[in-house]
Symmetry: C2
Amino acid sequence: MRGIDVPTVREIPPFTEMSDACFEEVLQMAYLQRFPPQVQLITEGDPADFLHIVIEGTVELFGTSNGRETTMAVLRPPSTFILAAVLKDAVYLMSARTIDRARVLMIPAENVRHAMEEDPAFARAMVMELASGFRSVVKTLKEQKLRTGVERLANYLIRAHDQTGSDGQVELTEDKRTLAAVLGMTPENLSRAFATLRAYGVEVHGSTINLTKMDDLIHLAQPTPLIDHRSI
Amino acid sequence: MRGIDVPTVREIPPFTEMSDACFEEVLQMAYLQRFPPQVQLITEGDPADFLHIVIEGTVELFGTSNGRETTMAVLRPPSTFILAAVLKDAVYLMSARTIDRARVLMIPAENVRHAMEEDPAFARAMVMELASGFRSVVKTLKEQKLRTGVERLANYLIRAHDQTGSDGQVELTEDKRTLAAVLGMTPENLSRAFATLRAYGVEVHGSTINLTKMDDLIHLAQPTPLIDHRSI
DNA sequence: CGAGCCATTGACAGAGGTCAAGGCGTGTGG
DNA sequence: CCACACGCCTTGACCTCTGTCAATGGCTCG
């Protein structure tokens, strides 16, 4: 293994319950690499040679077709990505690039598949990871098809609010350009969506957002655990 | 097992490589049920008690929120659905209803998870199924976000054409109302999309479609294996 | 033959993208 | 210290895509 802080990696979900022998073997051929912002890590259509795990920083998954581009997900640690492609020994369906400076652990696909054969606990963890990923994409698709842009923004703010202080204030963790991509709209449209939400007590001061009429906002957003509850 | 034609079930992908003992045990508690058209099989938000496998007929997965509804997928045999919810012992994220008359095999979630622990071949088949499902949803999301309605229809016709005779003729396997749902648009919009495609050699005669200018149609549709290739 | 469903078409409205212009803050260089 | 340039965000005008509502025509089935 190259450049790896072993104890840190050992605490990341897919590895916590792994046998020592398999852990050793998997890390044997793995890389831990640092990347500057805006570096493309993988390209859709390429064979899936490595399983990727975000250890630090932020990574964006995106898709392209017909000259258009769309953000599929934004990942923060600890997140595994392109697991399905690795298991099926297929090509990547999405591309990935860093947003922040980031550290990414890369494990050869071969070793991942082998470790799953050998170590039932690791296999179970990977299956759970895959199932969670599946459900995430389903929620994203539901959100995309069932909500307007304004509603997606409102629900995003409510989620961010619940996950942090819940004190009526939200600090955006990404610039608005990126937030627009996450929410599946253009930056211009995001500005308009914020303007629309002013009537629902959403006050924008740079990257700080105050929510002064939570009841009104929730009434507009209609959050549901079947879309908004991350990790269910 | 109740009402099950054992040899038939044995030939369905997840069961082909299963050990006899596990196969017996799984089927022990399973139901094979017949349903008339338009019957709701599962409801989003309910706990995932059974893994479902479509043996015959057509099943639609759909999602609801805020009084709106959207089709997530249309399944034909042999298709497993809601596998992720079963593995995570979570609630359904989608609802399901029959379109046709259908036969569905239902296996208690408990037994599925137990069989995966006991039978590595079955576990592997289930993981492959889950990974394939994941990639399907990703493709659906990409198609939804990157293509207009007209483009989605054009690509659907090209896929249908390639999968059947490839003789310039396509026979629609569902009524247009359902096709519109599959493509994520209203029936009115589907009609207009067909009208738009007339200029690209698409001639509609009831449920028979003639494609007389494949080159033009392909040029418009810009198909890509990373969205359109089913089972990659 | 009539009821009812489906598909089609037209008119309209809303959501969202594109293009262009301008404001504001930050940082750099004179 | 100020001037300028650059990037990001915002705003306005406009257009496309899509959904909604309503009316019509065709088909099937009782």
